[in-house]
Symmetry: C2
Subunit: 354 residues, 2 copies
């Protein structure tokens, strides 16, 4: 959603102001936009202590002399199987990627299932196998699990939480507060594929497309950047809320402005067509195999070249830069010399996308 372009009301849209003051939980509270931020800032942080940043990202904490990263994610994507992926593979890659975004080497995962009575055991087997296979591909071990079953009508087949632990190498300090004026903003490849792939098979929204989810692990790309000597300041994988939410969160956390060139954004033609059909801005559509990196401007070319040398980052491009002007605000320069504010999505454009 942007200031210039109204999004189409797909589901449950109501006026923004009452939405933010709702006495009950709305789908938008889980969408990674302003409503989610409100919940974290005004409800969870006061309840749990700590600070909002620590609750939003993988946390880096000490055990003995080692720094570990911890992150948790529940997956409720609907449908469970979609072009290019499934909830099992997504649960591995989503959590592995959150660890990678603080520069950690992912090591261990836990898997907590909430099954709805009546789920086919055969499908549970296939999804567990997909989860196990994704873990092997990502080089992580599933070390602990839990299964709860809820009565029919109180779930949706299968929800799964994965929580991950990784080790943060000495000297690595990557975080959302570290973006600096002058940094280049690099994106590892085309955007919008995961969200459009899921929507293309969603009940009531089916439309023909060949787009596959980009669901993949990203810690290899991060390892390559670090090995190449890139002084990575900030990383984020633009999942719920898309690139728009990611850039807004980093701008706010680091107290900087971000400017991107709209013409440089890698939006595949079929994604653009589907977004036009659905009334979505590709900037707010979820990705599950892309990262945004903030690096010193003089290392931008090195970062892009390093990412492109890895099959998971062949589409890497520089899309913008960090400015000390308009702190907390993301601006997109449009093709014809104008500009628009890229706002943090309010709530729910794409419910249950991950």
């Amino acid at each position: 959603m942007t200031a210039e372009r109204a999004s189409v009301d797909l589901e449950n849209w109501t006026c923004p102001v009452p939405l933010r003051d709702s006495p009950t939980v709305l789908l938008g509270h889980g969408a990674g936009g302003r409503l989610s931020s409100d919940l974290v800032e005004h409800l969870f942080v006061p309840a749990f202590g700590g600070d909002a940043k620590a609750l939003g990202d993988a946390a880096v904490v000490a055990v003995g002399a080692t720094r570990i990263a911890m992150t948790t994610d529940s997956f409720v994507v609907r449908p469970r199987w979609f072009p290019g992926g499934n909830i099992g593979a997504l649960a591995v890659n989503g959590t592995v990627n959150d660890l990678a975004m603080v520069g950690a080497q992912p090591l261990y995962l836990t898997a907590g299932f909430i099954l709805e009575e009546g789920l086919e055991v055969e499908e549970l087997g296939r999804l567990s196998t997909a989860l196990g296979e994704a873990a092997r591909q990502a080089g992580v071990r599933v070390v602990a699990g839990d299964t709860k079953v809820v009565d029919h009508g109180h779930g949706d087949g299968l929800y799964v939480n994965t929580t991950g632990v990784g080790v943060v190498p000495d000297g690595v300090d990557i975080g959302p507060v570290n973006a600096r004026p002058g940094d280049a903003v690099v994106l590892s490849g085309p955007i919008g594929q995961h969200g459009v792939a899921v929507l293309s098979v969603r009940e009531g929204l089916e439309f023909g497309t060949e787009i596959l989810s980009d669901c993949q692990p990203l810690h290899g790309l991060v390892g390559d950047l670090l090995a190449a000597g890139v002084d990575v300041h900030t990383l984020r994988d633009p999942t719920r809320g898309g690139v728009a939410a990611t850039l807004n969160e980093i701008a706010a956390s680091s107290g900087v402005g971000v400017e991107i060139e709209e013409r440089l954004l890698p939006v595949p033609d079929d994604v653009r067509a589907a977004c036009g059909f659905l009334g979505l801005d590709p900037l707010v559509v979820a990705n599950e195999g892309k990262l945004v990196a903030f690096v010193p401007a003089e290392q931008a070319d090195l970062a892009v070249a390093t990412l492109r040398a890895n099959p998971r980052g062949v589409g890497a491009v520089r899309i913008g830069s960090v400015t000390q002007e308009h702190p907390g605000v993301v601006v997109a320069r449009t093709g014809i010399g104008g500009s628009r504010v890229v706002d943090l999505p309010l709530g729910e454009q794409l419910p249950r996308i991950c």
Copy 2:
């Protein structure tokens, strides 16, 4: 459920044999009994690799030079508020206790919420506050979180996953395979309170009782045992499936027999009365603040005295011992000189008890 005493069909009970071969997920698959074991052994372990034991308990793994314990648990208890506790406090203590059962000092938790559209934000606030307060009381930090929202009719207000990390002190080796013939079996206090407390307020089952859940953290008790020099072999908190499931799992994992004296079991009068009313064996009812410890016989008195010196273990008693006879089987000696086999519960006596 025992060999001598049939349990009353409370909800959804069907014939045991078809239950075990069901093509769909049943409530019993989440109950901590045979159906749960089947799922772990025959589905999750082949899918994820590793071994069944590692998936059932807190896993102990290495990060750098440090051994950490990891465990995950999702909480779906119904209702969310019950005498003596709530789902927030339960989510903290359940996970803290799983860490404690391998001798770990709990340090960090993550909290992953799956909210149903329509939940009162005010109740979410109260439950989060309860979770945060329980974490402070247990001395652990909630370091990362996640919130997903599912549409109305696909959840039940609030489910929460907590995953915990703790440090295992050097030299500590506590696990389900370590019980040995000659060990004493010590229980830290009266049983059956959590399950009965939850059932006492469950929709359709309300009955008058003053019984409170025993929900509490147990790592202090474990620390006391270790500090007293008790060579603890095996620990387990008897949650789903109760003491019956716990003793059966340990007997199977360690390849030993377990004998308990029925008259030594601390069952409060009101719990016994409620279990009689409901047709339940107190041995299969869930606890959330008790532990079973297997220790060398010559240290049994020291273990009991150490537990009793802590307010969380004042009701500690020795309930039995380990034998090399009937490996894998748990036997209860009855008051009149007879004995009965204490079987692993098959499936679901008490759905959604945690």
